[in-house]
């Protein structure tokens, strides 16, 4: 057992032959959600009231006037990034009415994943990666499958050369975190420097990529500034990285231990849409996100002071027993599933269309190519949020993939 301290994620190494529960993601918030409806944690001396119930989470997310996103850049992220960045992530850290204007100019680009050509390119990336790993004796899922898949898929969203993915893969899973620390300014600067260079390149030689498109985008009669372009790109890089990686990796662990579910997807691909939503609910790759209270108020009967932080705990809301029947079970064809894994209301995830296409294509191709997944070694990634310890994914997941043909 390896246990970290401080902000660093806690790692617990479980031998699969003892546990055989690598795909189990327990609901650590259950008792607090039922008893009090809130949790509390400190984060770099900027405490947070964690909102745990589904209805309260949605209510606070909807109430952007009472709980703002447009605070100091980095403050609504947990852990706070105020000490490692000044760039405002757009539109994530902007509130209406400006937020609405940004969303309006960005949405058509971020809906491109619905196009047939985009889906076909995504399908080719996934197929190639799985074919490559099916030839191997063992696969470390994060470094050899999920991270390359996420990075290569991102070239489609940015409409850049596939070669760029190699640079992003070399950065590792997190863009603001390193092995040594949960918040790493030097590592964040690698991303910022990269984006600055790409913006320079796009100014000098405009193309059809997102950098060039943003530099040429007009908002209320003026061009987006360099800082705005940077803010949109930082969000695009950071928002969908470990979240997508965790979804893919966790899904593989699930199908490894539930082979009948893989058979089901193979026999009835019509459930893929529902299965995607259910797995994203169950895994909730982003645990929570913050807001800053604009007045002295109360959440779930708990006092919240003006200019203090709350967090909208998507992971807890997605297991709320008053909303979801058998919330701790994966029901692949769950018909009504009002989950909040992609956020809720104005700030619902801008990259959700891209993420959903990756997930759906992955669930479509995986059962066609893979007959069985065997877990060889698993090292869990456990986040610590105050007294809550939550498994969000894996530090390492070694598997053997068996081909559908042989």
């Amino acid at each position: 057992m390896l246990i970290g301290t401080g902000n660093k994620a806690l790692s617990i190494h479980l031998s699969t032959d003892i546990a055989m529960k690598d795909s189990l993601f327990q609901d650590t918030f259950e008792e607090a959600r039922k008893q009090k409806g809130i949790g509390q944690m400190n984060d770099q001396d900027d405490p947070i009231v964690m909102v745990l119930r589904h209805k309260d989470v949605r209510k606070c997310a909807f109430n952007w006037k009472g709980f703002k996103s447009e605070a100091k850049p980095g403050r609504i992220v947990v852990p706070s990034e105020v000490n490692i960045r000044d760039t405002r992530q757009i539109p994530f850290e902007i509130d209406p009415p400006n937020h609405t204007a940004y969303r309006k100019v960005l949405e058509s680009w971020f809906k491109r994943p619905l196009q047939e050509e985009y889906k076909n390119s995504l399908s080719a990336i996934i197929s190639e990666l799985l074919d490559e790993q099916l030839k191997q004796e063992a696969t470390e899922v994060i470094s050899e499958l999920s991270l390359p898949l996420q990075s290569k898929a991102l070239t489609l969203l940015l409409n850049t050369s596939m070669e760029e993915a190699e640079t992003w893969i070399s950065w590792g899973v997190h863009v603001f975190r390193s092995e040594a620390t949960a918040l790493d300014k030097d590592k964040a600067n690698i991303l910022y420097d990269y984006i600055e260079k790409e913006i320079d390149r796009a100014i000098e030689k405009p193309g059809k990529d997102l950098y060039s498109v943003l530099l040429n985008t007009e908002l209320e009669g003026r061009k987006l500034s360099r800082e705005e372009v940077k803010g949109i790109l930082v969000l695009t890089f950071a928002g969908g990285r470990d979240t997508v990686i965790n979804f893919l990796t966790n899904s593989l662990s699930y199908f490894a231990e539930k082979p009948k579910m893989l058979d089901w997807l193979r026999k009835d691909p019509s459930i893929i849409g529902k299965a995607t939503e259910e797995l994203v609910r169950y895994f909730s790759p982003l645990t929570h996100i913050g807001r800053v209270s604009t007045s002295d108020t109360a959440v779930c009967g708990h006092e919240v002071k003006s200019d203090s932080r709350i967090s909208l705990c998507w992971a807890s809301a997605n297991r709320d027993e008053t909303v979801f029947e058998n919330p701790n079970e994966v029901i692949l064809d769950r018909k009504v599933n009002p989950h909040v894994a992609f956020g809720f209301s104005h700030h619902k995830c801008l990259g959700a269309t891209h993420a959903r296409q990756i997930m759906k294509e992955f669930l479509r191709i995986l059962p066609r190519k893979v007959s069985k997944i065997e877990i060889l070694e698993a090292e869990e990634n456990i986040e610590e949020w105050g007294d809550f310890k939550r498994k969000v994914g894996f530090e390492k997941l070694n598997v053997k993939l068996y081909s559908q043909q042989g």
Partner: protein
């Protein structure tokens, strides 16, 4: 079979024939503007919000609890709002007019 009439925020009227499935599925299959159905119909995203014309409100019926709660947090919601993923196509809906809530 039923003819479903969609009216977009641009004022364009698009008539589509459907036999089964949800109104949202029918709309996304022909690409009605403003009706995205991001979550595929599990009542998680409200991107398939429509207004039902008065004549058909009783036929379409009331929203269930989960759908009502979803609409409660949609600033575009009105009395005649429904999420089209929760409306099944049937012959009774032939001729219905649905105004798409979003652009």
């Amino acid at each position: 079979m039923a003819v479903i009439n969609f009216i977009t925020q641009e004022g364009e009227k698009i008539s589509v024939e459907g036999t089964s499935g949800s109104i949202m599925e029918l709309a996304t299959s022909v690409g009605i503007a403003g009706l995205d159905g991001d979550c595929g119909g599990v009542c998680s995203c409200a991107t398939c919000h429509v207004y039902v014309n008065e004549t058909y409100r009783k036929i379409v019926g009331e929203a269930e609890k989960i759908e009502k709660e979803m609409l409660e947090f949609d600033e575009l919601a009105k009395e005649n709002s429904r999420l089209s993923c929760q409306i099944e196509i049937s012959e009774k809906l032939d001729g219905i007019e649905l105004i798409v809530a979003r652009e």
